[in-house]
Amino acid sequence: MNNELPKWVDYGLMPLINLTIAFAVAGLVVLLVGENPFEAAYLLVRGAFGFGEGIGFTLFYATNFIFTGLAVAVAIHCGLFNIGCEGQAYIGGLGVAFACLAFDAYLPWYVIFPMAVIGAAIFGAAWAFIPAWLQATRGSHVVITTIMFNFISSAVMVYLLVEVLKPAASMAPETRTFTDAGRLPKLDWLMEMFGSSLGGAPFNISFFVALVACYLVWLLIWRTKLGYELRTMGTNPEAAIYAGIPQTRTIVIAMLISGGLAGMMALNPIMGDQARLNIDFPAGAGFVGIAVALMGRNHPVGIIFAAILFGMLYQGGAELSFDMPSISRDMIVVIQGLVILFAGALEHVFRPTLMRIFVRGDN
């Protein structure tokens, strides 16, 4: 009766095969533009992990993707596909910025920091609330509504930044720069422990917030009553109704948590790096979160690994395009796209073949 793959195949071999193929196809693309794919791969990996600053950037990007990956995963456990993390993160930035703008003249960073975390979560969750409510009570599909809310959020943010939040004398559509109290400490000491240095990389303590969030999400999904209800709803809605699990409440709560996590992503670029709220700071992290969640199998541990992989592609890709001028930024986006395609969208392409190899005696 056993029709499951061994765990090491399911969680180890299959992602590895997917990745290998993604990189093989990416290699062909590199070959097409007339460069040596092995050299390109070497440059990419070295750019991401070869020196302290590179590692710092890789983990900085990974921090963003952990938040958005967790956000997508929580919603998926409840059977909801939250494509709106980009918008929720963008709006979440308001929560961070308001906390910093209001208090950075009076309070130290460690007091502002928790306020920013809570503010980001509240703003992100609020932005997810309307799609959640519409899904739960009217059946409007969250995929559609959250996409629309992404567009609305970018319009709202441009308006706010240009008309409301921009200092009078400035030409740039962004808030004023926060004082030092509005910046998060960098993790230089962590790098120094390994005998390296962070250099200019903005790797900061929101990485730890992300790790704590991973633990809390794991607790929520597998150890709480609410998590049990989310998973039941997401796996078998009919059984959820049979069990008397309230549909509207569960869907709304799942989306609020998802939106809150997406919003918290804003901490990292805003308080951890820019020290100001600027146009389009999420820069696609919300969408990468979908691939990260898919690749990480919606499990926090998997999400951490997948986030680091995508962090590597972002950072290593930037280095690669610098070292190999014929490989432009756009080419890097193509490679990232291939990884998303094979590791995310086509995740299960090899499952039937692997099933044939590893699961025998079924028929």
Partner: protein, 518 residues
Amino acid sequence: MSGAPAIELVGINKSFGPVRANHDIQMSVAPGTIHGIIGENGAGKSTLMSILYGFYQADSGEIRINGKTVKISDSQAAINLGIGMVHQHFMLIHNFSVLENIILGAEGGAILNRGVAAARKELERLEKEYSLEVDPDAIIEDLPVGLQQRIEILKALYRQADILILDEPTGVLTPAEADHLFRILRQLKDQGKTIILITHKLREIMAITDTVSVMRQGTMVATRKTSETNVEELAELMVGRSVLLHVDKKEATPGEVKLSVKNLTVKDSRGVTMLDNVSFDVRAGEIVGIAGVSGNGQTELLEAISGIRRARSGEVILDGKPISVTGGANPALLRERGLAHVPEDRHHTGLVLPFEERENAILGYHGRDEYSSGMFLDLDAIRADAEKKIEQYDIRPANSKLKTANFSGGNQQKIVLAREMERDPIVLLVGQPTRGVDVGAIEFIHRRIIEMRDAGKAILLVSVELDEIRSLSDRILVMFAGRIVGERGANATEGELGLLMAGVEDGAKDGARKKEPA
């Protein structure tokens, strides 16, 4: 056509995992006749027709059309062989016109106009020939169901079908529409078409078919000439005398009424009445069995009582206090009030198959204090509880961390039964307790149900297995078309119940709740 049968099936086998949907099927249909296939839901009729229409491939066996062995790999191949199918659920595009629907898939080239003009002419000819009375430019969603079905038939005829398969064609029709359909079918037969009619309604078989095959549990149990058989024989063949299960039980000692259903009416989302003014009582310490061919309102009855589905009108009283069946009662709250429910379909409703066994062992009860502390689940308590039940119910493999999907059907059912029975409920609703369960487990399950009764629980049992109903119940209610058409004592004969199940009503016109001396 040298007297070869229009369709011949030889030794067709088809399994879905461990389930044998079709087992060594032999069938032969003469050209220009109407052949009926009857059997209960799940008997394998639809699977067989899906094989004939190319939706499924048989695991083994042979299909011969007009004497020639053929391989039907998809529905296009079936169409090319002159087989047309009218599905139970129509395959029409609602905002297209009749004409557009008919040419769908046979548009005839990239430019639509030419094909449409030719199709219109052909369609008019067909309509006249068979007097189908359909306006080619009407939009599907504006048409009544009976007409939509005629369009399905037209679709098949347009594709030059010589063999027409109709799957439960009257399920959605009013009696008048059904009569019209039968007139059309007779006309088609007169034109030399071969028709296969799948149904579970004996009346229709007797009214229109020339020959009839009876299917039960995946096998073809008999084929008869319709003129040489009768409703009683067919009912018996259809319901079967599988294993005569004997259950030892004492005389029931019914106490007070614990569950009282009054004038319960349920309509589905299309407004079709699924449950029509149903009333009955269940007392403490008795088992009331609901017999009936599946799809006659039993599912809706259980769902309405347990709060899963809203009733349109009526009342349900649980242990003296009403349940708001029309206002959406919360199933979780009803559980707290002592209503346990073993749902008919454990896979879709009763279990979350990818979950661990122990997670399913608390489904619906997960909010209870015994399984949680604060907002967290108490995993130790859950495991201890699951392991206790695994031992009590001999659930195998005895591993509470195993995925539920990896248990056999019988063991999955035991997981559900253990969960619902071990709560000391006041009222127990049990749907199809032994569907897909092996014989050994059946005995155990029956014994547990009787023990529950003897412990003073009020039990409402729904089953399509007549033997099960007869051996367990203290009183038997028969449902047909959403109504209770008769009540019998535990010693009612199979033939008697079979007739009621087939909709042949009691002598008494108001038959419903008349007590019958046992």
